[in-house]
Amino acid sequence: MTSSKIEIPGEVKSDPAALMASLQLMPSPVPNPEIKYTKIFINNEWQDSVSGKVFPVYNPATGEQICEVQEADKADVDKAVQAARLAFSLGSVWRRMDASERGRLLSKLADLVERDSVYLATIESLDSGKPFLPTLFVDLQGTIKTLRYFAGYADKIHGTSIPMDGEYLTFTRYEPIGVCGQIVPWNFPLMMTAWKLGPALACGNTVVLKPAEETPLTCLYMAALIKEAGFPPGVINILPGFGPTAGAAIASHMGIDKVAFTGSTEVGKLIQEAAGKSNLKRVTLELGGKNPNIIFADADLDLAVEEAHQGVFFNAGQCCTAGSRIYVEEPIYDEFVRRSVERAKRRIVGSPFDPMTEQGPQISREHQSRVLEFIQSGITEGAKLECGGKALGLKGFFIEPTVFSNVRDDMRIAREEIFGPVQQIMKFKTIDEVIERANNSDYGLVAAVFTKDISKAMTISSAMQAGTVWINCFNALSTQCPFGGYKMSGNGRELGENGLKEYSEVKTITIKMVAKNS
């Protein structure tokens, strides 16, 4: 089975019978999946934490504990950095390896993830609460494709030879930076791991990676696949643990040459500070967003409503790319709100393992409370609650799909990142006005515009202060295209060729020549 042959049925949703028929053909989650790996992965070996501490991992759909995992802190980070440094030492197996062979290993890893994708999707659903089928089709495919993409790049990271002035021959080499600390979030645990590992390994770095404490399980299983694929010991080390301990130890470590973090803007600032205080390690950050989604009156309304709905509610609203400020042109505002509310009411919230489920629980009790608190502030500040607004169910961390209209730009729900299933819909009149309002934010991750007018589309897309702009689509992410933030949404870019630059040092080599010619 090849990856591109798998397609999510999009059209059949309106026909329940056809949907049920197609769901019959879908892969099923692994029943009662065994959790095989709960330890720290250093030097291709499974280790207990130095402190002996463990922490519980919960199923957010039930609030029940799944298992306990070894908890890494500073002492374990030290061990992992030592292993990664050794693996990076001159003359090591990893450093002597042909670039194409690094690509082969990444390619093998992709094949192994593909082989075990149903199991991995099951664990991912269990641990993060995201619905199983989208996990299989979006997260797992995204993971496999990212690994394959960067596998292909390993032997294509070209330096240049440079016609410099004088009697010299100059060329550049793209060399790995060294030991890379990588801290990944809980919203796409496996895919964010692939986004981090792909370019780091293609470029020849070694890695100390901390998965989120909420969702360490798939990442640890990936560690087993890394070993199976044949990566040399110490090249990839995976340490489940908490931000203030293990994460902070990575960010301030003198033996780590680069740190890459995906998570909140608040923590992003701490990482940058820690790098400044320690060894000026290179920093790339993928942080929060409060992303404008601009709908003009001439847009295809059916498409715009559905894309705007998915744009904010996808992954239970827990996306840094969530289109959480929807600016709608005045003539169609009421109709847009009406249809959006109708769509939100139809959204199926439920067990992640029910194939009909569109929306699972939020990641944790704490996060659920935070989102509900945002909803309360919206009501208090005078936005109109059109639907939803409450917690759902007795156990698990579910929230009703929630829509606010008559939202003003100065309200908290219009300024801060909610990271939950809450849609804000605002009204605008002119293109100048909407450009100014959309850009009036600390964030600048993504933006979208829906219109049939090519001039408006191009005007908006060049005016947005955002790292990605989608025209008549949303969340159209792909491993070939760079992704990252303007302003406080981040530093640097992941994916695409740009993603490689963040994991390379350029070395300029100049040789004295005799009798140079063109």
Binding site: T2, S4, Y153, K156, I431, S455
Partner: protein
């Protein structure tokens, strides 16, 4: 070299097991094969019904009969390839990353069947099995994997063009590509051609050499197996003057890539000129200089120079066939080279000890023996070899000529056989001038420990590839091709993609620019154009639209650079 040795040793271990097995089943080797033309993922007889024999050069015996494509079959194949390339076809609609995945799957399938393919290659071509298995097959697999990775990375650009335009480029496939490949590395040349053509989304009509059609036909079955859509790759065994010529002059072939002799390269370029100006890339002959300075590591230089010339029975376009040795080490170098050549093991290509198998066919065999006679006649000193090496098959003794002068035929023409010419030089300036005094410019090498001399020679040589203290170092990552009459364009590396790409520049013209054009016309008082443009910008009965246009002009002025 150590790595190569380790590789080889590993290869041999695997081989001894495989070899035993294959010896028992040699007669069955052909049962896996189809001997027809591969068009539209189907096996077909030639329209004419003709076949031709393919011969085992180690024995001179016929292996089997293969369908012989000519113009009518090329016509069918081009139709299939054009259809596979039509807008909306599965191949055109396919994600670039999926094209890459198919190429990766092809590489996997070839890797799986490597022992079989190596055996078939040796049978048909005569190259030692150990070399086919340990060199040709792994490089084929690596080449396909390399281009698999490029499929979704061949990016166009966005361009900050002057004015209120948005400009970008798309890298689009050229279309139907004719590819004509030689017999010296049948599988590898097939991979060099298919890799970049398919990664960039073209469709292919490939003519394989009439001497060595078998492995290409097996690969055709793998192409079908891994799921390339029908018509994307079509493979036609046939002769140059019929099938090859039909490809080169075909009006619906958008590009032709040829690897072979310079003589035929001229014909291909001409055929393109007299037909549809199809794009042409050529990898042709060489008479590559290999320059040994007196400070070089002698033992190493002798071995590398021996390898540079004798590898693949001397049947390499990049063979180091003019070995220039600095005067003070000349005699020692010749003596050691002769010693090494005498030790070269010529024999049954399936014997794992064999270094050199037979030449490809009777014609080449006769031609090489003719060159050896001319060398003797023109006064070069025959140091060893010079004769036939077996009583059947096309084996020739490893041959070394000393005291060769630049004007001798053996120092000017491509011999394509196991015949080494060693020439003497004194100064660097002299050797660079002499090395460049040839119509060819494919490859060159220099052996020295001195970095200044290495740089001086490597930048002064007119050749597409220069090796410093090594020879025949190829990687899918590094471009390869010729200066001068050694070819046009480059294969391999990122450069290899250029030859299979049309660049499309897309300028979107926002409505505002129609308005600017009107202003420009007014300024230049070009009245007729003004009328047309103003009708477009201000349609007589549509005031609303005119207003909107002005509105949108204003918006564009707000646009940030």
């Amino acid at each position: 070299l150590q790595r190569a040795a380790a590789w080889f040793e590993h290869g041999e271990m695997v081989l001894s097991a495989l070899f035993y097995q294959s010896r028992c089943t040699r007669n069955d080797v052909l049962t896996f094969l189809m001997f027809q033309l591969f068009i539209n993922n189907e096996w077909q007889d030639a329209v004419s019904g003709k076949t031709f024999p393919t011969i085992n050069p180690a024995s001179g015996e016929v292996i089997c009969q293969v369908a012989e494509a000519d113009e009518a079959d090329v016509e069918k194949a081009v139709k299939a390839a054009s259809n596979a390339f039509r807008l909306g076809s599965p191949w055109r609609r396919m994600d670039a990353s999926h094209r890459g995945l198919l190429l990766n799957r092809l590489a996997d399938a070839i890797e799986r069947d490597a022992a079989y393919l190596a055996e078939l290659e040796t049978l048909d071509n005569g190259k030692p099995y150990a070399v086919a298995y340990a060199v040709d097959l792994p490089t084929v697999v690596k080449c396909l994997r390399y281009y698999a990775g490029w499929a979704d990375k061949w990016e166009g650009k966005t361009i900050p063009i002057d004015g209120d335009y948005f400009c970008y480029t798309r890298h689009e496939p050229v279309g139907v590509c004719g590819q004509i490949i030689p017999w010296n590395f049948p599988l590898l040349m097939q991979a060099w051609k298919l890799g970049p053509a398919l990664a960039t989304g073209n469709t292919v009509v490939m003519k394989v050499a009439e001497q060595t059609p078998l492995t290409a036909l097996y690969v055709a079955s793998l192409i079908k197996e891994v799921g390339f859509p029908e018509g994307v790759v079509n493979i036609l065994p046939g002769m140059g003057p019929t099938a090859g010529a039909a490809i080169a002059r075909h009006m619906d072939v958008d590009k032709v890539a040829f690897t072979g002799s310079t003589e035929v390269g001229h014909l291909i370029q001409q055929a393109s000129g007299s037909s549809n100006l199809k794009k042409v890339t050529l990898e042709l002959g060489g008479k590559s200089p290999n320059i040994i300075l007196s400070d070089a590591d002698m033992e190493y230089a002798v071995e590398q120079s021996h390898f540079a010339l004798f590898f693949n029975q001397g049947q390499c376009c990049c063979a180091g066939s003019r070995t220039y040795v600095q005067a003070d080490v000349y005699d020692e170098f010749v003596e050691r080279s002769v010693e090494r050549a005498k030790k070269r093991v010529v024999g049954d290509p399936f014997d794992l000890k064999t270094e050199q198998g037979p030449q490809i066919d009777q014609e080449q065999f006769n031609k090489i023996l003719g060159y050896i006679s001319s060398g003797k006649r023109e006064g070069a000193k025959l140091m060893c070899g010079g004769g036939i090496a077996a009583d059947r098959g096309y084996f020739i003794q490893p041959t070394v000529f000393g005291d060769v002068q630049d004007n001798m035929t053996i120092a000017r023409e491509e011999i394509f056989g196991p015949v080494m010419q060693i020439l003497k030089f004194k100064t660097l300036e002299e050797v660079v001038t002499r090395a460049n005094d040839t119509k060819y410019g494919l490859a060159a090498a220099v052996f020295t420990k001195d970095i200044d001399k290495a740089n001086y020679v490597s930048s002064g040589l007119r050749a597409g590839t220069v090796w410093i203290n090594c020879y025949d170092v190829f990687g899918a990552q590094a471009p390869f091709g010729g200066y001068k009459a050694s070819g046009v364009g480059r294969e391999l590396g990122q450069y290899g993609l250029d030859n299979y790409t049309e660049v499309k520049t897309v300028n979107t013209v926002p409505i505002k620019n129609l308005f600017s054009a009107l202003v420009v016309c007014l300024l230049h008082t070009s009245l007729p154009l003004c009328t047309v443009l103003s009708a477009a910008v201000f349609p007589p009965k549509n005031d609303k639209k005119a207003k909107f246009l002005l509105f949108s002009t204003k918006k564009f002025n707000l646009q940030n650079a």
